[in-house]
């Protein structure tokens, strides 16, 4: 009789723990963004805290991809203690080659100077605004999720 009781207790506790573990796992998963890529899984949130004064929940939130003309920019905002502690690039226009051989002694003919602000009047401006606008767009959508 005693053996049966111990067996039942063992089975019950096993069921309880596996249920609990599974429940915990699904809780953790629920805080993860749906499109979290494998290479960034190390930045998954470890704790889930209630809303802080900033209105941002802790965790990692992935913004929607935004058009940067030459490709997509998609960022993840990592929130800790209600503050943005990191912004991770999930995708970025593939317009830089990481394996290019750079000769740092090169360019003897080309003039170099420190940039300096100019005050003369102008009719228009040339600049790379695309990436920064797409960055802001993707980040704000990530923060929307952190507020939701």
């Amino acid at each position: 009789m005693k053996k049966v009781a111990i067996s039942l207790l063992t089975i019950a506790s096993f069921i309880f723990y596996s249920w609990h573990a599974r429940n915990e796992q699904s809780n953790a998963r629920a805080t993860l963004p749906t499109t979290l890529p494998a290479q960034n899984s190390s930045s998954s949130p470890t704790t889930v805290q209630p809303m802080m004064s900033s209105g941002l929940k802790d965790g990692t939130f992935t913004g929607t991809p935004a058009d940067a003309v030459y490709g997509n920019i998609q960022v993840q905002a990592v929130i800790s203690s209600g503050k943005i502690v990191d912004v991770v690039f999930v995708s970025y226009p593939n317009d830089r080659n990481t394996s290019i051989q750079i000769n740092q002694q090169a360019m003897p003919l080309l003039k170099q100077e420190a940039i300096q602000a100019q005050s003369a009047s102008i009719d228009g401006v040339t600049g790379a605004t695309d990436s920064s606008q797409a960055f802001i767009q993707s980040l704000s959508s990530a923060l929307q999720q952190a507020k939701a």
Binding site: D67, V69, Y70, G71, I73, F89, Y92, P93, N94, D95, R96, N97, T98, S99, I100, Q101, I102, N103, Q104, A106, M107, L109, L110, K111, Q112, E113, A114, I115, Q116, A117, Q118, A120, S121, I122, D123, G124, V125, T126, G127, A128, T129, D130, S131, S132, Q133, F135
Partner: protein
């Protein structure tokens, strides 16, 4: 001076004319909208989206085939740095942007508009003179402070394009000295015979990193101004001719 701004192709497009040419300007914006409807990968009904979803080659429009030919040609001219294939999908928007600015400018010229510039997402094609009867003057935006310009340039009839980002998205490493990280480039401005050429070569040269300015320097008819993450700029040899 009349400034018209509309938001098309995911960016503000600015058409500034000295004289009132509303009908022609309206037509130019309509052209940009048609381009967006054909080439936007964000529109499921665009021709490019249909092609990416398997539309057979014999159903492609002539204009699309021309763009693909130009992309292929540009890829060869830039030693493979200009590539429209990404994650198995085709996206020619890096070429279509400069191409469409040039075509819209041609449209304005054909309607008798002489003094104007078109600026789309920081890329410029200008013709004629401004309202003070001077050559149009453009600032190169400081990549570290968007309210400042670091050079004032003038290149009437030419195209001016800037490629870059102030965000350090990736680092470039020297494969021969992997432990030593080298400084990024943040902005590359290219002046060329027209914005179509300037834009696609700015895109490809930026991908080359620091070598990009040498690539531009070696291109006949093109000049460049590269800014690195330390705020040090490198000019191609003939760039100073355009500086005011």
């Amino acid at each position: 001076m009349k400034q018209h701004i509309e938001h098309i192709m995911g960016m503000p497009i600015n058409i500034t004319t000295v004289h009132d040419n509303q009908a022609a300007v309206k037509e130019a914006f309509e052209y940009f909208r048609a381009i967006d409807n054909q080439y936007s990968t964000y529109k499921p009904d665009s021709e490019i989206s249909k092609i990416n979803n398997g539309l057979p080659k014999d159903a492609w429009s002539e204009s699309m085939k021309l763009i693909f030919d130009l992309c292929e040609q540009t890829k060869e001219q830039t030693n493979g740095y200009f590539d429209i294939k990404r994650n198995g999908k085709i996206d020619p928007s890096g070429l279509v942007k400069g191409w469409s600015i040039k075509k819209a400018a041609d449209l304005l010229l054909s309607k008798g508009v002489k003094d104007f510039y078109i600026e789309a997402g920081g890329d410029i094609q200008s013709y004629g003179l401004n309202h003070k009867k001077q050559a149009w003057r453009f600032g190169i935006r400081n990549p570290f402070n968007r309210n400042e310009n670091v050079k004032i340039i003038s290149a009437p009839g030419y195209g001016i394009a800037t490629s870059g980002t102030y965000i350090r998205g990736q680092h470039i490493y020297n494969p021969f000295k992997p432990a030593q990280s080298i400084t990024d480039i943040v902005s590359l401005t290219v002046i060329g015979p027209d914005i179509y050429g300037a834009d696609r070569f700015a895109t490809a040269a930026f991908a080359m990193g620091r070598e990009g300015i040498r690539f531009i320097d070696g291109l006949a008819g093109f000049e460049g101004y590269l800014i690195d993450s330390d705020g040090i700029a490198t000019s191609s040899q003939g760039f100073k001719e355009y500086v005011i």
